[in-house]
Amino acid sequence: MSKYEAVIGLEVHVELKTNTKLYCGCSTAFGKEPNTQVCPVCLGLPGSTGVLNRKAVELATKAGLALNCEIETYTWFDRKNYYYPDLPKGYQISQVFRPIAHNGYLDIEVDGRNKRIHIRRAHLEEDPGKLTHSGSSITTSHSSCVDYNRSGIPLIEIVSEPEISSGAEAKAYLEKLKAILEYAGVSDVKMEQGSLRCDANVSVRPLGTSTLGTKTEIKNMNSFRAVERAIEYEIERQIEVLEDGGEIIQETRGWDENKGITVAMRNKENPDYRCFMDQEIAHIELTPEWIEGVRATLPELPDARRKRLIEEHGLPAYDAEIITSSLDLAEFFDAVYAEFPDAKTISNWIMGELLRLLNARNMELFEAKVTPKYFAKLLELIKKGTISNKIGKEVFEQMFETGQDPERIVKDKGLVQISDEGQLASILTEVIAKNPKSVADFQSGKEQALGFLVGQVMKATKGQANPGLVNSMLRKMLSQNNSG
């Protein structure tokens, strides 16, 4: 690897959050019965003419602005011609010559290093239909089925400059892109529902040279992790080919998730799409005032929010990065903070308990039942000493599953922390009597022995004793014992 460097550019297709398709009023709802959300326009029937969805233009502008792009004030649509059954018109209406947004960037951080990745362009286009092949792959199928529900759904294609140098950087770019588009309210960005799809152009070249090597295009990656793995694999593969004196063939390769390799799909002989200006969709002229109006609707974006958490709440950069990586989590944090203004404690509990349970159960935050209000209440109960930190974790797990009020869980289960000296004294006396060796050790100056005794008390009270109080009471009792 040291002798080579990788040059990677990503093409990301993102479905815009509209109710209807780009050129017709058919619904964009996901997962409906095939061919029930189609009309003459998205079926490409002769004589039909599409009309542009205003909301899609607005969202594309918003996406462009959120990605620090320049917005074109005069733009139009073009036809990209090719024959394929998922494309009923025989051409895709896209923006080839004058994308609505260009020349933007986003910033990523990998291994503590900051890097700016430029965005070449972002343009509006329609999604094709969905093909299901009769066999296991297109080459082994005697027929295919086409569902045009997806045909005409508005997409923006976001093309990065080839400035990404590793799989980890590609993953960081996608995570940042996803967060920005999610915050901006432009898309649901759900990779599993296909509302975000990514292809990667990968090439390698000897370190210190500036000519680009021959690139391959990688497809079929179903998660950010898959993008990272596929790129790492492809870089290694290309280096091996070159080291063996071979040549890289310009081709499309598919990622095989199970085998962890890329496989040649088809040679890309630079298809000629014979692009020309579309004659049906009217040109768009945007005024600077309108564009500024859209900019004014942009909410606080991830970088700004992260900065706020660091500067205003004093959170470490690492905590702020994790909390702002998803809008839901950032909103959850703010809602808890409104009731319990101790940022670091909240972030510890979010990262330590909430995210741990979400990961363990492979869930999204919206699926968890715990509310910010009860989350804050739990932290309050711990702060007041009603329950210990340890019991708090137990209570949290139940809140996570049931959405119950922590106060009620504590009451129902009798988990209230024992802070009553009289009640504790008898337990302590018992523990002292049972552990003469530890007592002697402590009294001869071995501090650790106290920890053991506190542990015994906690065990005897099933974790309900107030550990701070137990500690100070034990010290007092043992020093009396000693002198007496």
Binding site: N19, E33, N35, C39, L43, R54, V146
Partner: protein, 95 residues
Amino acid sequence: MKITEKDVEQLATVSRLELTAEDVSAYTKYLNTALDYMDKLKKLDTSKVEPAQQVLPVKNVFREDTVEASLEKELALANAPEVEEGSFKVPRIVL
């Protein structure tokens, strides 16, 4: 002649059209007539002319993002040569 009979046959194959030998030679001739005319137009100097989409100065024609009724499924599939499980069934894609 820019378009050969072989081009027309290829076009017919990808368009799933069956053409007779007479069709092929006739379409080759028609398509070349059209292209010859384009060549004539190409001789004009258009370097100072903006590309025109339409003859009328129409721009910013939008619809609101409101769902409209789609076609009934049966109607949507009415022209499909073959239907399978509510989908358009097409022959093998890779030739």
